[in-house]
Symmetry: C2
Subunit: 122 residues, 2 copies
């Protein structure tokens, strides 16, 4: 049975003499997209910028509601996503949770983007 063959060949001939290919696998693309999705929110960007800029190295969740102008449940929701995606680590101190930057986390995203851009951007 070779009935379908000519159709496929014609498609390729029409506009893909050298069919383009992705420089990253579908699985890797899904991972990169998930990491970027964790970052792709204004409140999470601001949370990261506050925590990465902190001189103390760790910021109490109680200090994050006021600069963002958001309630604690909302802030905690965003922090949970950033911890799950590997950008922040969480430590309990008494009543409060403290959040610290994970070293190298933003650099990993930069490296992911370079791999999307291909050898010229690596």
């Amino acid at each position: 049975m070779t009935i379908a063959e000519p159709l496929e060949l014609r498609d390729v001939t029409v506009c893909a003499p050298n069919a383009p290919h992705s420089s990253i696998s579908a699985e890797r693309a899904a991972e990169v997209a998930a990491t970027l999705k964790a970052l792709a929110d204004p409140a999470r960007i601001r949370l990261l910028s506050i925590i990465f800029a902190s001189e103390e190295g760790a910021v109490c969740v109680c200090d994050l509601t006021q600069p963002l102008g958001l309630g604690q449940p909302t802030v905690s929701h965003h922090l949970k996503i950033l911890v799950a995606a590997g950008f922040l680590s969480r430590e309990k101190r008494g009543t409060w949770a403290y959040f610290s930057p994970v070293p190298g986390a933003l650099e990993r995203v930069t490296s992911d983007l370079a791999s999307v851009g291909g050898p010229a951007n690596a």
Copy 2:
């Protein structure tokens, strides 16, 4: 009338002797988040990787459906988002639309991420 004062002062004393601050403005955070959101999809990551890796410099939309295993309306939808976010440029050649990388677009995201990370990551 100074009734509310003591409460605010107490809040600050409890856990923000030096209130943390964001290294980027709310407006800038919204812009960065929007750019990342345009990237944060597995199909769009693969489209970018194919188009950035192309030796021809421009890829026909007709060549993008097969490697992604998606229909042309879906591929066109994703391409539109990538053009709007400044990652790709679009050119009509006869029947087909061709898409090219916008030089420096991925580097701008890297630079945005560095600004989120603060001076230590800049």
